[in-house]
């Protein structure tokens, strides 16, 4: 019931987007802009194609590894920087700078270091996803109300107990917010990596389709990716909501 309410509005917006798309398609009449229907049909074709699933598997494998690694590393790094106030203050502008750097331009360097193959894509995904999570975690700890730790102290908790049962749950909402951004950017990083230099994965598939002018495939894949991102985001949101009442 409640889930319905959360989903209905966005669905209407998406529907409106599709209508606008169709109108645009009719308006410009260009072979590079297929209609939504064509795209959906192509999506159906793709979903029934085992090679598509192989490519998607490649992408999501890289994506999953990148997400796991960047989440673990981001939270750890964020916690470390957050606990050591000075370290956090030293690191923050550097991290923000790295975050606002167009990372594609560093891709040649990544290729030179990691070579081809999946490790470069994973590395690229991590480059995109790690920093937001680190920043959010760090700021969450810096902004943590000191009274929580003091409460833990007067209740006689050990520092380990404090970390696990007070600090972590207290920063979780911000960590989830950071993870939502991080996961999205991780996926983007992996895809860009695949688009630029790779022989498989959805990003490669898109580049390949672009080169052949196969726009229905390009848009179908883009849509599928958007759906996956939305679902991942929705799950994280639901996780966040489930943890606290309205």
């Amino acid at each position: 019931m409640i889930a319905m309410r959360h989903v209905l509005g966005p669905l209407l917006v998406i529907l409106a987007g599709l209508v606008a798309w169709e109108a645009l398609h009719l308006g410009v009449a260009n072979s590079s802009l297929p209609s939504p229907l064509e795209t959906l049909r192509q999506m159906g074709v793709l979903l029934g194609d085992p090679t598509f699933w192989k490519q998607a598997g490649q992408t999501f494998y890289a994506f999953a590894v990148a997400v796991v690694l960047s989440t673990a590393a981001g939270i750890t790094l964020g916690v470390l920087l957050g606990m050591k106030r000075l370290a956090g203050e030293v690191a923050e502008p550097i991290l923000v700078n790295l975050y606002s750097l167009p990372k594609v331009t560093l891709y040649p360097l990544v290729l030179l270091i990691f070579g081809l193959g999946i490790s470069a894509r994973i590395a690229f995904g991590i480059m995109h996803g790690l920093i937001p999570l680190t920043l959010f975690t760090m700021n969450a700890i810096l902004q943590l109300k000191p009274v929580y730790r003091r409460s833990a102290a007067v209740m006689g908790l050990t520092s380990w107990q404090t970390a696990v049962s007070v600090i972590l749950p207290a920063i979780l909402p911000q960590v989830i917010t950071g993870a939502r951004l991080g996961v999205s950017l991780c996926l983007l990083g992996v895809l860009i990596g695949e688009m630029f230099a790779s022989r498989n994965g959805l990003g490669y598939m898109v580049t390949h389709a672009m080169e052949r002018g196969d726009m229905p495939t390009v848009l179908a894949v883009a849509l599928l990716i958007a759906i996956v991102a939305l679902v991942a985001n929705g799950l994280l949101l639901a996780l966040d909501r489930s943890r606290r009442p309205s």
């Binding site: 966005p10 410009v28 606002s100 167009p102 996926l187 983007l188 390009v218 991102a229 939305l230 991942a232």
Partner: protein, 258 residues
């Protein structure tokens, strides 16, 4: 007192940060010089800097720089203005806002580049399409910041405006806008960063001009000297832009520290 203490602390952190950066650059230089990192992979920072100076002196990439920076500026301005308007409209329509907001959060996962061919239809090749991609990337931050900023205008300021018998326009210009400005600026800052990312990245992947393209071209032609010089240029540009915006941001934010 608390503020000035923080500043002193920041000053200390500043020097420490500088030391960290200098140390890292020095270590890189050292590793390259003694051959731990082969020159075919990475150049020593000093060589990058020398090469950058050379490029700037020769003016090889002046045209690319001009193209890139003017595109970034155009994209940032469009994203900020449009984002503010959309944000303000969404704020006035809470129902629509409720439907759109969840979508904004996962927005960044959609690789905007994939729509490049579509943008070419709409905006033509070259700057038009690239600016469109960058705007698409940058606008969300501005919309979010605008919503947030208007949300946070304390209602009591509205009451004060009414006590002063202000009209809606005067109220918007003299109360709402300055009150929301610090939040809007945070959005502007992000928008500029994303516009930069969007322009350079699209040039890199798609275009035939600009710094991004120049890096890709240098990469393809094994011209590591030029490639790293241009990368350094981008890092420096981002740093300078960030530092500038940050200084303004800090001033605005300090107003909010109540």
């Amino acid at each position: 007192m608390a503020t000035s203490a923080l500043y002193r602390f920041s000053g200390y952190a500043f020097w420490l940060r500088l030391a960290v950066i200098v140390g890292a650059v020095g270590a890189l230089e050292f590793a390259c010089r003694i051959g731990w990192i082969p020159m075919t992979i990475l150049l020593p920072p000093s060589v990058m800097a020398a090469s950058l100076a050379e490029i700037l002196a020769r003016g090889t990439y002046n045209r690319d720089m001009l193209v890139s920076f003017s595109n970034v500026a155009a994209a940032a301005v469009i994203a900020i203005v449009l984002g503010f308007l959309i944000g303000a409209i969404l704020h006035a329509l809470p129902k629509v806002r409720g439907a759109v907001e969840p979508l904004l959060a996962s927005y960044y996962a959609v690789p905007t580049f994939m729509f490049y061919p579509v943008f070419i239809i709409l905006f033509g090749v070259g700057s038009g399409a690239i600016i469109a991609i960058a705007v698409l990337l940058a606008i969300v931050a501005m919309i979010t910041a605008t919503l947030n900023g208007i949300d946070r205008i304390p209602p009591v300021l509205g009451k004060t405006a009414r006590m002063l018998r202000m009209g809606p326009v005067e109220r918007a210009l003299k109360i709402s806008l300055p009150a929301a400005l610090p939040y809007l600026f945070t959005g502007m800052k992000l928008s500029v960063a994303y516009a930069f990312i969007g322009v350079i990245a699209s040039e890199f992947i798609l275009s035939g001009a600009g710094i991004g393209y120049a890096i890709a071209y240098a990469y393809n032609n094994f011209n590591n000297r030029d490639m790293y010089a241009l990368m350094l240029l981008i890092i420096l540009a981002v740093t300078v832009i960030n530092a500038g915006l940050d200084a303004v941001d800090r001033r605005l934010q300090s107003r909010l520290r109540r």
